[in-house]
């Protein structure tokens, strides 16, 4: 695309090479060139992201029966979703419980990935001095991201299963008599797999913020008599905050909408916000699925707005 654009944009003004381009193309205005360059990507987002989102909102207000969509206004998608919520008060209804559980998973995964991600990034940014080593080790952390998530989930089966390495190791060591059942297909394995898959999203932005920190600031803090801990709390963490916030947004939105990891690692037994949508789609209750998508979108948006108050994302990229 850009090739054609630039070719058209070629003004052909070079003296001496003018013979080759006797027919000078009319010069395109810079803003038109920008449109041609950015237009294709904009069209993809329009056709496959923005318009689909609009359809999700519209269909969430449609009616449905057992096997098809009925394009007539109805709030059924929402009322079905919140069925019994008022009647059961103060008890939480199903949807309330599901969201509470999703938020709990989200919080756990966020806290653990933040801890691991922060220290991994810290090590790479401040302790690895050679650029080559820094590149090599960052690459080592990135390569798994280029491989399949499902495979990285399945990979836990031989380790955590009833006859897996952990259980057989503990049994041999005489620490347990019966295999531990909650290692696999449980909330534990879901959190473990999510941390395993998505710590990367925390490491990269935090590392990016940290390498930009001027090393002389840290020396200045040291010279002024700050302890290592004081430097960490008063210099490094505030300056790494943009990375921390961006990483947190990634991890939280991924976990909020996840249904695959929770499905596979939870043995399809754990309810979550994303899984409700999948279940509704499989039952062909599309307006109800769309209504749930709108609710999930609203909650995700709320979380992001709260977090981006802390930092201006656009300035950090």
């Amino acid at each position: 695309m850009s090739e054609e654009v630039l070719q058209q944009a070629t003004p052909g003004l070079i003296p001496g090479s003018g013979a080759a381009r006797a027919a000078k193309p009319t010069r395109l205005s810079p803003s038109f060139i920008s449109w041609l360059q950015a237009g294709p990507m904009m069209l993809v987002f329009l056709a496959f992201f923005l318009i689909p989102l609009v359809f999700v909102v519209i269909v969430s207000f449609w009616d449905y029966n057992e096997y098809q969509l009925l394009p007539a206004f109805s709030g059924r998608g929402y009322t079905d979703t919140f069925e019994g919520c008022l009647a059961q008060l103060p008890e939480l209804c199903t949807i309330g419980k599901t969201y509470l559980k999703t938020l709990k998973l989200c919080f756990l995964v966020w806290a653990i990935t933040l801890f691991i991600g922060f220290w991994v990034a810290y090590f790479l940014a401040f302790h690895v001095k050679s650029k080559t080593w820094q590149m090599g080790l960052s690459l080592l952390c990135t390569i798994p991201f280029w491989t399949s998530n499902v495979i990285r989930m399945i990979a836990w089966i031989p380790l955590l299963g009833r006859n897996g390495l952990v259980n057989s190791g503990l049994t041999k060591a005489g620490l347990i008599n019966h295999p531990i059942e909650w290692l696999l297909f449980s909330e534990f394995s879901v959190v473990l797999a999510l941390v395993h898959l998505f710590t990367f999203f925390m490491v990269v932005p935090i590392f990016n913020s940290m390498v930009r920190i001027d090393k002389s600031l840290i020396e200045a803090a040291y010279d002024a008599g700050a302890s290592g801990f004081q430097t960490l709390v008063n210099v490094i963490i505030p300056l790494a905050k943009p990375g921390i916030v961006i990483g947190s947004i990634f991890v939280i939105t991924i976990v909020m909408g996840d249904f695959i990891t929770i499905g596979v690692m939870g043995g399809q037994q754990i309810a979550a916000a994303g899984k409700i949508i999948e279940t509704r789609v499989n039952a062909l209750q599309l307006p109800a699925a769309a209504a749930n998508a709108v609710i999930l979108l609203a909650i995700t948006f709320l979380i992001i707005t709260m977090m981006s108050r802390i930092v201006d994302i656009k300035k950090e990229l």
Partner: protein, 292 residues
């Protein structure tokens, strides 16, 4: 006296090593287990060593029609890779000047990255369902569906790969020295010549990186494909389908084969990037030599 490393270095080095082990350990376990003997089970210890399960996969007598899904995923991955590279480089160039819809495009890309995949996927499937209904109602009653690998599936994958491509382009141009272009212009290069012989050779290693992201993210994509791919399955979808009924190591064998493709692509891309960087270091930038 030499100044040693602080104690925190060793603590964090061990922490980092543990993290890397945590990342790779389980993956390596299943690569090893896919070479189980024919009588082998899902866990250690190994019951002999063989290529039985991998061979079974390729005979097509196994669990899925590997060949067809493999070709579909590969085709989609390559198309996504090419489109991601071309669209990202073009849009990245546009962002170097101010233009009107700049912030709309920027926020669309960021939103596309962080809106949960299941929502995008559902939206695309609704969109295509409605298009299908319109076609059936107005033009052709026998129309089946416009959903498919290279329509809705391709679009779904692009909403995932393009934001990465665009962000990498931002990173590239953040440390790009615009004086190089000015110099080219002063020497009489046309905008196209400036791009082709100056800008592109310099950014080429990173552009290959975008291609790597484009292919691998598509090759392993699952959440967005789930509702939007239409009637056919890609490899990761087949693999996910198998997780509910795991009984023997052929699922590991499939995992190993899929990973082998990923690793081949990673090695190819990193090798090329390394070669280009070395050449740039040796000869200066090869800008102007028209090597591309």
């Amino acid at each position: 006296m030499r100044e040693g490393r602080p104690r925190s270095f060793y603590v964090l080095a061990i922490f980092f090593a543990a993290y890397v082990l945590f990342l790779y350990g389980p993956m390596i376990a299943i690569y090893v287990l896919s070479f189980q003997g024919p009588q082998g089970g899902l866990t250690f210890p190994m019951n002999g060593v063989s290529t039985f399960w991998i061979a079974k996969l390729f005979q097509g007598t196994g669990i899925v029609d590997l060949g067809a899904a493999f070709r579909r995923s590969l085709l989609l991955g390559l198309v996504v890779m090419v489109l991601t590279v071309v669209l990202s480089v073009a849009a990245g160039m546009a962002f170097r000047r101010k233009f009107k819809a700049q912030s709309i495009l920027f926020y669309s890309a960021i939103a596309s990255l962080i809106v949960p995949s299941i929502i995008t996927s559902l939206g695309i499937s609704l969109e295509f369902r409605i298009i299908d209904d319109l076609i059936k109602a107005h033009w052709n009653e026998n129309f089946e569906t416009s959903m498919g690998l290279l329509t809705s599936g391709l679009g779904a994958h692009l909403t995932w790969t393009l934001p990465f491509g665009l962000l990498i382009m931002f990173a590239i141009f953040n440390r790009f020295d615009p004086r190089l272009e000015e110099a080219a212009r002063d020497l009489g290069a046309t905008p196209w010549q400036t791009f082709r012989y100056v800008v592109l050779p310099i950014i080429l290693p990173s552009v290959i990186g975008i291609g790597l992201f484009g292919f691998t993210l598509s090759w392993d994509e699952l959440a967005r494909s789930s509702q939007a791919i239409g009637a056919v399955n890609t490899l990761p979808l087949d693999l996910q389908g198998l997780t509910t009924t795991v009984t023997n190591p052929d699922i590991y064998a499939l995992g190993t084969v899929i990973s082998a493709v990923s690793f081949t692509m990673i090695a190819l891309a990193l090798g090329t990037i390394h070669m280009l960087n070395k050449r740039q270091a040796a000869k200066g930038s090869n800008a102007g030599k028209g090597l591309v």
